[in-house]
Symmetry: C2
Subunit: 207 residues, 2 copies
């Protein structure tokens, strides 16, 4: 059984969502951020990179949520929620599996720049953000899910970006993204996962 090392308010809620979609059993271990907002020492000891989430699979410690969700689907669910190279939408699946990290990179850049930034770097960030927003809107104008007609890991990866990251959330010109977020947020597995491990969930009381 997989163990999800869950860092409060982090990307690790996506793996919980995946496990609920697949109806697979898992153990959840909470790690609470310190007063500095950073991961505690117990979390850093898990993995050399120690980004969130860290998932334990036997004696292997896995990092990087996009890699984890695809690996879990193939290893424990016969490839469900993935798209293989033999399918016409394989490229689209790959594109959206990578989209997430681009958005997070922009998010950190925004944090670093501050809200009122101008100048060359701010211009680069703004241009990227505009491009990504166009890409989301155009894609969702043509298909119900990001990789095509079916819900996949690409949706699990990207919903977090659309919900949690201010850069898209504060835009008022993304009607397709808003409708998509509203629709996916009602999936029973998502609702359950957010109750268990979402940004407003609280750790279980100590035994």
């Amino acid at each position: 059984m997989l163990t999800i090392h869950h860092l409060g308010v982090s990307q690790s809620d996506r793996v919980v969502w995946l496990m609920e979609e697949l109806a697979l059993p898992y153990k959840l271990v909470w790690h609470t951020r310190g007063p500095d907002g950073l991961a505690p020492a117990s979390y850093l000891a898990l993995h050399p990179a120690a980004t969130a989430p860290v998932v334990q699979d036997g004696d292997r410690m896995l990092c990087e949520s996009a890699a984890i969700v695809d690996y879990v689907c193939h290893t424990y669910a016969g490839g469900a929620l993935t798209v293989g190279p033999d399918r016409p939408n394989y490229y689209e699946y790959l594109y959206w599996m990578h989209f997430n990290n681009n958005i997070l990179g922009l998010f950190f850049s925004r944090l670093a720049l501050g809200e009122e930034a101008n100048g060359v770097v701010a211009g680069m960030v703004q241009r990227r953000e505009d491009g990504y927003a166009r890409m989301v809107e155009q894609t969702l104008a043509g298909s119900p899910y990001l990789a095509g007609e079916a819900f996949t890991c690409a949706d699990i990866m990207t919903l977090y970006c659309l919900r949690s990251v201010r850069m898209l959330g504060r835009r008022d010109n993304m009607p397709n993204a808003r409708a998509y977020v509203d629709r996916l947020s009602q999936r029973p597995a998502y609702v359950k996962a957010m109750t268990i491990a979402g940004p407003t969930a609280t750790p279980p009381a100590e035994a």
Copy 2:
């Protein structure tokens, strides 16, 4: 035949490297950055996201280098240089295919913060950078390539990060990464690709 829309000094040199490794034909179209360092209008018109590279495959315009290289290997080279879900190192392959965008996110954050930054965001960025550096060193201590015993797209994706991004380049405690970069930089396909489209290559004279 694929057309690689190459933006000078960008990630698009990776697709050129891939095509040389696979000995596949391609057409290269140069787009030169404007005086502001940004992509020109001709480039922005290619794709809604318009990140570099953009690769044209028939009537499809492809973006996101990690997605492109994996897709090209499967579509035109029978899956060469990729690792499939049936292999024991599938997760490792996925991990390193995603690593690249994390490093670039940090790079933009560094640009945004400036060299002398302190504070919470700078602390988060530094911690991530330290973790990624540890991950690279530990992985290359145990295997010749990032995803294991064989050269794969994961190496093509990551070499750019190790060579071009200051955050790792300025560290003096990464002997494994340095040896790896030196070794991979001597691959004939890499040398040829950098001559054609690397950061110091120049566009062909107008006909």
